[in-house]
Amino acid sequence: MSKHALHLIVVMVSIVAMAGAGLALKARFIPESFGLYGAYRADAIDEEARRAVRHGTNASCFGCHPYEATIHLEGDHTTISCEFCHGTYSDHITDKKKTGTLPVKKGQEITTLCLRCHNTEIKARSTIVIKTVGMPDHLAKQNVKVTHTCNQCHHVHAPLKYINEAKKITGLMEAES
């Protein structure tokens, strides 16, 4: 045995030890799903996909509120989401049980809500898409008090419901007289 053999053994053993330590550290610090699709943790995709859904759809509201559903689906506001005005599904229902009451907008809040979309003064609103009114001109034109809120004439779910009914009735009355 040459006198240098010990050196060789020391070098070999340290290489093996360092490689082992390196592999152990690599296994310890690289996440399990890393590199499955690319240089990132593939499990992050599943984690994002598992996030709880907070908004339902209009259909999830209509299941328990058939009366509102009938009116909402008949009128001109069918494309409006229930949850935009009333709040999210998950604030109301958890595990098929009612866990919270969603606030109902009242008085001037309703007018503010209506004018988010229906305000003529905001010139950017496309008239092809939506009918707009100027306040308080609209109230003056309709011969009502300027303190009136929108929902005193317009049903919020089907805006022309009462208007059309009134027109029908007055039409009949005119025909009779």
Binding site: P31, F34, Y37, G38, A39, Y40, R41, A44, I45, D46, E47, E48, A49, R50, R51, A52, V53, R54, H55, G56, T57, A59, S60, G63, C64, H77, T79, I80, S81, E83, F84, G87, T88, Y89, S90, I93, D95, K96, T112, L115, R116, C117, N119, E121, I122, K123, A124, R125, S126, I128, V129, I130
Partner: protein
């Protein structure tokens, strides 16, 4: 010559066994939600009947390598009501002052000066006209903004820890466990779609509601849009509105095309001034 009688009865039995077994296993495959990617599709879903808004995803095996989605924003239909912003804030409980999506108001005058404002990200809608502009407006419009889901995203290239990435189905997502909050991606994003969450100190961004898409639902902002200004769909579905629009002759533009980010978010009726 002696014929060897094959054990016919046994053969038939094993045949029937195998066929039955296969059939039952096969039908169970269809009955149980296929969570090939480890997703329980009913988890965190609102109860009740939910329509399949994006066909071909609900209760099916999700082939992550074979998906293509597109988002189209129709500027001509946006009325700036801010429903999308409200829905987005509620869906993710976004902290005040930060926005995953927002709606900008553009006003152009006859000298081609452009005035842009975006009070509170459009969360309260646009209740008042701008009165600080001395000139007559020529063109006014709203521009909803969100993550552009670039095919060449600058944000993923700069992340030092691999915490943001482009998934095989084309979404730029965040790994909330890996993010160290260095905010390089926030600086890299040319569309300012990212922000640092003030409490968790990790970056957040619009994911086009990835968790809803994987359950067959539309993104929350598309769900609540009253005018159909935001459209989303799968390009694997030839009946979807976005497929028809993308295949059709209409003019579609992307934001900052010259940057070569190749967004999957398209705009209809977009003006040159919008960046």
């Amino acid at each position: 010559m002696k014929m060897v009688e094959p054990p016919q009865e046994m053969d038939r039995r094993s045949f029937v066994k195998k066929v039955l077994g296969g059939t039952i296993a096969g039908s169970l495959f269809l009955v149980f939600p296929m969570d090939g990617d480890g997703i329980n599709f009913q988890e965190g879903l609102p109860s009740g009947e939910l329509p399949e808004e994006i066909p071909g995803i609900k209760n099916r095996r999700y082939d992550i390598h074979n998906q293509k989605f597109a988002f189209i924003v129709d500027i001509t239909r946006c009325i700036g009501c801010g429903s999308c912003c409200v829905a987005d804030k509620r869906e993710y409980q976004v902290p005040d002052g930060n926005y995953r999506t927002w709606v900008e108001r553009y006003i152009k005058d006859f000298d081609d000066q452009v005035y842009v404002d975006c009070p509170d990200g459009g969360l309260d809608g646009y209740q008042k006209p701008r009165d600080d502009i001395p000139v007559d407006a020529r063109d006014t419009f709203f521009v909803p903004k969100l993550c552009n889901m670039c095919k060449e995203p600058p944000c993923t290239q700069v992340c030092p820890v691999g915490a943001t990435f482009i998934s095989p189905d084309g979404f730029v997502l965040m790994d909330n466990d890996r993010c160290v909050g260095c905010a390089y991606c926030i600086q890299a994003c040319p569309y300012s779609a990212r922000f640092l969450h003030p409490v968790t100190r990790i970056t957040e961004k619009c994911t086009w509601c990835y968790h809803r898409i994987r359950k067959g639902l539309l993104p929350a902002c598309v769900e609540v849009c009253p005018t159909g200004a935001r459209k989303f769909g799968s390009l694997n579905d030839e009946q979807s509105e976005v497929y028809k629009i993308l295949k059709g002759p209409g003019v579609l533009t992307v934001l900052k095309q010259s940057m070569g980010t190749w967004p999957a978010l398209y705009y209809m009726g977009q003006r040159l001034e919008v960046i």
